[in-house]
């Protein structure tokens, strides 16, 4: 069990390093929002090309925890949807696999926002 933690650390760390370089070496217009959108889309594209699967096999959570992992989940669902249900499968597939993540994000986002107050 413990032997998948080091690969998770390394793969996750490297994926974050790429993002940090993107933020530091480009013009200041790159905000956290741009990075997140870039990573989810990147995960979709790499997943579609079959290049993200090996990252997940080697790094486990190191590849699924970064937001690119969510993109990979979406595109995997879309492709599986394509295989089983044609166009309707494509449309539904991505959202279906991403559903749990989205639901939890909305639920906990809402609950936390109600309970806490910003500190500044």
């Amino acid at each position: 069990m413990l032997n998948n933690i080091l690969p998770a650390f390394l793969v996750g760390g490297l994926l974050c390093v790429a993002g940090q370089l993107l933020m530091d070496l480009t013009k200041a217009k790159i905000t956290p929002a741009h990075v997140l959108v870039g990573y989810v889309t990147g995960g979709v594209i790499l997943g579609g090309l079959g290049l993200y699967e090996p990252l997940v096999r080697i790094g486990g959570a190191g590849a699924t925890v970064p937001l690119s992992g969510f993109g990979y989940t979406l595109v995997k669902g879309a492709i599986e949807g394509a295989q089983s249900g044609g166009i309707l499968g494509v449309l539904a597939g991505g959202v279906q696999t991403g559903a749990t993540g989205i639901a939890v994000a909305v639920l906990f986002g809402y609950l936390t926002a109600i309970v806490f107050n910003p500190k500044g």
Binding site: V35, T64, I87, G94
Partner: protein
């Protein structure tokens, strides 16, 4: 009618010269320090995620994909709560991309505007602002996955 001439600036520096001056005198980001911090913080969060997934698989007997989904959900919870306690912005100050890119950072980007705009009401404040950043992520994530799915259909 003649156009009135504006008195030119008294400053004896052109825009081009000033751009170069600004470039020279503005401190650059401490790239090496930032990259190392991003590596460590991002690595720690992902390792923590892996420990959670392992726990779900080995102690709760979940299948691999289910454990990964549950792990992601757990991290979203943790990121939301740390944002509520006012701690997550400090994590990103030091860890940079290491705090932004993991799904905990995504949770932070949802909760922080919702928290901030609570004073502006629960419908437009909390409800609306939850999706300030999550919105673009979902729009681009879902749209691109559909496009890739359609391309896959066409190629087959």
């Amino acid at each position: 009618m003649s156009e009135s001439k504006l008195r030119p600036p008294s400053v004896a520096v052109t825009q081009e010269e000033y751009k170069q001056l600004t470039e020279k005198l503005s401190p650059k980001p401490t790239v090496l320090k930032n990259v190392l911090s991003a590596f460590v913080v991002g690595g720690i969060i992902c390792s923590f995620g892996q420990i959670i997934v392992n726990f779900y698989m080995n102690y709760l007997g979940l299948a691999k994909t289910a454990a990964q989904t549950a792990g992601t959900a757990t991290l979203i919870m943790i990121g939301a709560i740390l944002t509520g306690f006012g701690v997550y912005d400090t994590i990103v100050k030091y860890g940079g991309a290491g705090g932004i890119i993991p799904v905990t950072g995504f949770a932070n980007s949802m909760v922080s505007p919702a928290l901030e705009y609570k004073k502006e009401g629960y419908v437009f404040g909390v409800g609306g602002k939850l999706f300030t950043i999550a919105g673009p992520v979902l729009v681009y994530g879902i749209t691109s996955s559909i496009i890739v799915g359609l391309i896959y259909l066409l190629i087959r």
